[in-house]
């Protein structure tokens, strides 16, 4: 099927970009937030409007400029990108709502700046999702890095400065020091950067070079937080919670993982990876990350840091899924993007809501909080279920596919890793829920005045929690998309 | 070209140049630099470059030495090397 030429992808990217000048110029907070909402809704609608065509198996393409020979500034909507864009744009709406509640609740400074860069970050995220080649991907990836810096360092204090430095060091250092040369090398080898289902790297390249290339990409996209380059993520938790939520659930980290997915599947291609046994290597790196991150998470006391380490582990599931090189594994990885996003964002929202309502960050201070904030903690429970992969949560589906994939690829050690890590997940989430609800009132250190957070905070987390649930029962759009994506990659041999 | 004169004057030029940068007095440097430009003028004339010689004569005698002296006048004669 030939691709459709359409301006919609560009529009989807530009909506939030275009809203930035308006945000800067408007003085009234209400107008500003109305515009933010409007843009978020519009973006979601645009993305949604492309869904039918994508589901039909067609691609939407928008070429803007031929910047280098064989490399264009081009946007393309395919199933995988659509999946990611759908997740990101839908979550922008809820996050916007949540941001309003959170920012106003805490009377944060620099809200205009905050919303501007938020919009920019979203724009970049959609751009990454829709990019048709490595160059465009890199462009939006960098844009995202720089747009999130002011968000991470929003508090503008010494701690923020420190983590901002760490953030930049890892992210930008990885992208310029590793991804850029890798890209140039890839271009040098193949003369193009255009994604294709079979990968564009020539199979004739020297295996060592290709291996080095792969790992340059893997660690260069440091946003994916594969283990040696993960340290920025916990540090970046100094950001306001909505930022952390978006950053760690959707935008930044998912972008990193998404990039790695793209590289594995459409730069190298599954055949090439399989023939060089590189997939296994990646899978073991991911497996190590999963286990190590979960173990570290067990020791954390600060809720957000715990969530951060949990994220590190969960992200590696996705990488692992792709690295299995089996159709089921790929599907599992792709769906996990969506499932983890909704689950994790719920958890972050909860953490933020708790902070807004009580000002507490640490787990040890939250005993009995479930009685004071039942809605929040219920949502937390659902999110946790989803992350662990227990049936009513959407996460179960993705884990299921991952397990299948591992079986398909005959990788029993990896199967064990997945299962063990699920147990570990449960081990660090369940005590929280337990201590929130089933603890005696005398152990509670919370004052009596504490109640639910403002409605703008609570409503979004309820919504995302519900979606997490719904996805278990009706995962159809995401499943279809992932299936489509896998089909194009494997060439219809998926099922 | 008259090579005997040429050679002698060339040696003079070199001596003048060395002298101009070795003297521990800026006014002396300026003056010797004037002599240097006389020599240069002669040299050009010997090599048949009359126009260049003319220019060097007018510039060296009329202008550049005066500029140097004016500068030294407004600054100092003292120098350590």
């Amino acid at each position: 099927m030939e691709p459709l030429t359409s301006l919609k992808p560009l529009l989807a990217v530009l909506v939030s970009l275009g809203v930035v000048p308006i945000l800067i110029s408007s003085r009234s907070p209400n107008v500003r937030e109305a515009w933010t909402f409007g843009a978020a809704g519009l973006k979601f609608l645009i993305v949604l409007s492309m869904l039918p065509a994508v589901l039909e198996g067609r691609e939407l393409v928008c070429t803007l400029a031929q910047v280098l020979p064989g490399v264009a500034f081009r946007l393309r909507v395919d199933a995988l990108g659509m999946l990611f864009a759908l997740v990101a744009s839908s979550l922008w709406i809820t996050t916007s709502a949540y941001s309003i509640g959170y920012m106003r609740g805490l009377k944060e400074h620099g809200q205009t700046r905050y919303f501007c860069f938020f919009a920019l970050a979203l724009s970049a995220t959609i751009g990454v999702a829709f990019s048709a080649n490595l160059f465009t991907l890199y462009l939006f990836y960098e844009m995202l890095s720089f747009a999130t810096y002011p968000l991470v360092t929003h508090h503008q204090d010494a701690k923020a400065r420190h983590s901002g430095r760490k953030y930049l060091l890892y992210i930008v250092g990885g992208s310029i020091g590793l991804v850029l040369p890798a890209m140039v090398l890839a271009y040098h080898l193949s003369g193009t950067l255009e994604f294709s289902g079979q990968g564009f790297l020539p199979h004739s390249g020297s295996p060592i070079l290709l291996g080095v290339l792969l790992f340059m990409f893997l660690f260069g996209f440091a946003k994916a937080a594969i283990m040696p380059v993960h340290a920025w993520l916990p540090a970046a938790m100094v950001a306001p919670t909505p930022v952390s939520a978006l950053l760690h659930a959707v935008a930044v980290v998912k972008v990193g993982v998404f990039c790695i997915l793209r590289v594995l599947t459409e730069v190298f291609g599954l055949d090439l990876l399989a023939s060089l046994h590189l997939g296994t290597a990646v899978a073991y790196v991911a497996a190590f990350t999963i286990i190590a991150a979960s173990l570290i998470a067990l020791t954390q006391d600060e809720l957000k840091r715990l969530l951060a380490f949990s994220t590190i582990g969960q992200l590696s599931y996705i990488v692992l899924g792709a690295a299995l090189l089996s159709p089921k594994g790929l599907m599992g990885g792709m769906i996990h993007i969506a499932m983890h996003a909704f689950g994790k964002i719920t958890l972050f929202f909860c953490a933020g809501a708790i902070f807004v309502a009580t000002g507490k960050k640490n787990l040890s201070e939250m005993a009995g909080i479930g009685k004071r904030m039942p809605v929040t903690m219920a949502a937390f429970f659902i999110g946790a279920l989803s992350i662990i992969g227990i049936p009513p949560g959407g996460g179960f589906l993705s884990k299921w596919y991952l397990v299948l994939g591992a079986l398909e690829a005959d990788q029993f050690p990896l199967l064990v890793v997945i299962l063990v890590s699920s147990l570990l997940n449960a081990a660090y989430f369940m005590p929280i829920v337990y201590r929130a609800f089933f603890v005696g009132s005398r152990e509670t250190t919370l004052p009596d005045t504490v109640s639910e957070a403002p409605i703008f905070c609570v409503a979004p987390l309820v919504v995302t929690a519900l979606i997490s649930l719904v996805l278990f029962f009706y995962p159809q759009p995401f499943l279809d998309l992932a299936e489509l994506a896998v089909q194009t990659l494997i060439g219809g041999t998926g099922k | 070209m008259i090579w005997q004169l040429d050679l002698l004057i060339l040696i003079l030029v070199v001596l003048c140049g060395i002298g101009a940068i070795m003297i521990r007095d800026l006014l002396g440097t300026a003056i010797l630099f004037g002599a240097y430009s006389f020599m240069m003028c002669l040299l050009w004339a010997i090599m048949g470059a009359v126009d260049v010689a003319f220019t060097e004569a007018s510039v060296g005698a009329g202008v550049s030495t005066v500029f140097f002296v004016a500068t030294v006048y407004h600054t100092t004669r003292r120098t350590k090397d």
């Binding site: - | 070209m1 009359v50 126009d51 007018s58 510039v59 009329g62 005066v66 004016a70 100092t76 003292r78």
Partner: protein, 276 residues
């Protein structure tokens, strides 16, 4: 620094000497430089421009563009000295001055100001003090008109004998410099004000560039003096001849004005008071 300097000097010298061995011998009439481009100038200059001084014809006509920019360089130097040194005139009354005996520095004390330094190291100075030496003044008075005439002569006869606009201009400028040296800068300024000299230098270059532009307007190439044929008598060759003269006058004016300008700013440190 000295050792480094010696090292660099020896290195560069060695490189240059290394190349010398492949030069054609000094004064060789068969060297490539003498055979390739220059013979045409020598052989055709008289026919094409009616100028026997080949240097002039090459300078102003064949390679006229270089000369235009050369004049511009001089002009730029004049403007630069003006820009850097010129101090706008003050309205305050003439300040008292002291000179440091050891360094020769002059201190200027504004009216009402007090000097708090050890006074025995300083000696008071008049703010304008020029030794009145009428021998020099008188002799220079007699010399200057002749120098000026000679300068004009050099400009006008650049076609037939060595010389030309630049040399003549320098001589003209030197005559004014001589005036300000022998008398006083103010005397020279009365005779030729700062504005005049600046405008001289500007309009000199303007004559040159304007001639070029005029040729352009007349439908020929820039600086193709042949274009002046309709304006000047004597046919296209003589038009070149006269065009060259016109341009030389421009160069002379520019150089004269600029030399005076630079000298004044240097000699009085931009104050245009006493001068050297």
């Amino acid at each position: 620094m000295k050792n480094l300097g010696l090292l660099i000097v020896v290195l560069v010298g060695a490189v240059l000497i290394y190349a010398t061995t492949d030069f054609p011998p000094f004064g060789d009439p068969e060297s490539p430089a003498s055979l390739h481009v220059s013979p045409r100038y020598l052989e055709n200059s008289l026919e094409e421009t009616a100028v026997p001084n080949v240097v002039t014809s090459v300078l102003v006509d064949y390679r006229g563009l270089d000369t235009m920019f050369e004049t511009t360089v001089v002009f730029a130097a004049g403007v630069a000295c003006f820009l850097l040194l010129r101090v706008p005139r003050r309205r305050t009354p003439a300040p008292r001055q002291y000179r440091h005996r050891l360094t020769g520095l002059t201190f200027r004390i504004k009216d009402g100001g007090e000097i708090s330094l050890p006074l025995q190291e300083f000696e008071p100075m008049e703010s304008i003090w020029t030794p009145h030496d009428f021998i020099i003044e008188k002799v220079c008075c007699y010399l200057i008109p002749f120098i000026q005439l000679f300068g004009l002569f050099v400009i006008a006869h650049g076609h037939h004998s060595p010389g030309g606009g630049f040399q003549g201009g320098v001589i003209l400028g030197a005559s004014i410099i001589l005036l300000s040296l022998s008398h006083d800068l103010r005397t020279a300024l009365k005779r030729m004000g700062e504005k005049t000299s600046a405008l001289f230098s500007t309009f000199g270059v303007l004559i040159y560039a304007g001639t070029g532009a005029l040729c352009l307007l007349l439908g020929y190439n820039f600086l193709d003096y042949q274009a002046l044929d309709p304006l000047l008598p004597g046919g296209p060759v003589m038009a070149r001849y006269h065009g060259i003269l016109l341009v030389e006058v421009g160069v002379g004016m520019a150089v004269m004005g600029t030399m005076i300008w630079i000298f004044r700013n240097l000699a009085s440190r931009g104050r245009h008071e006493e001068g050297l």
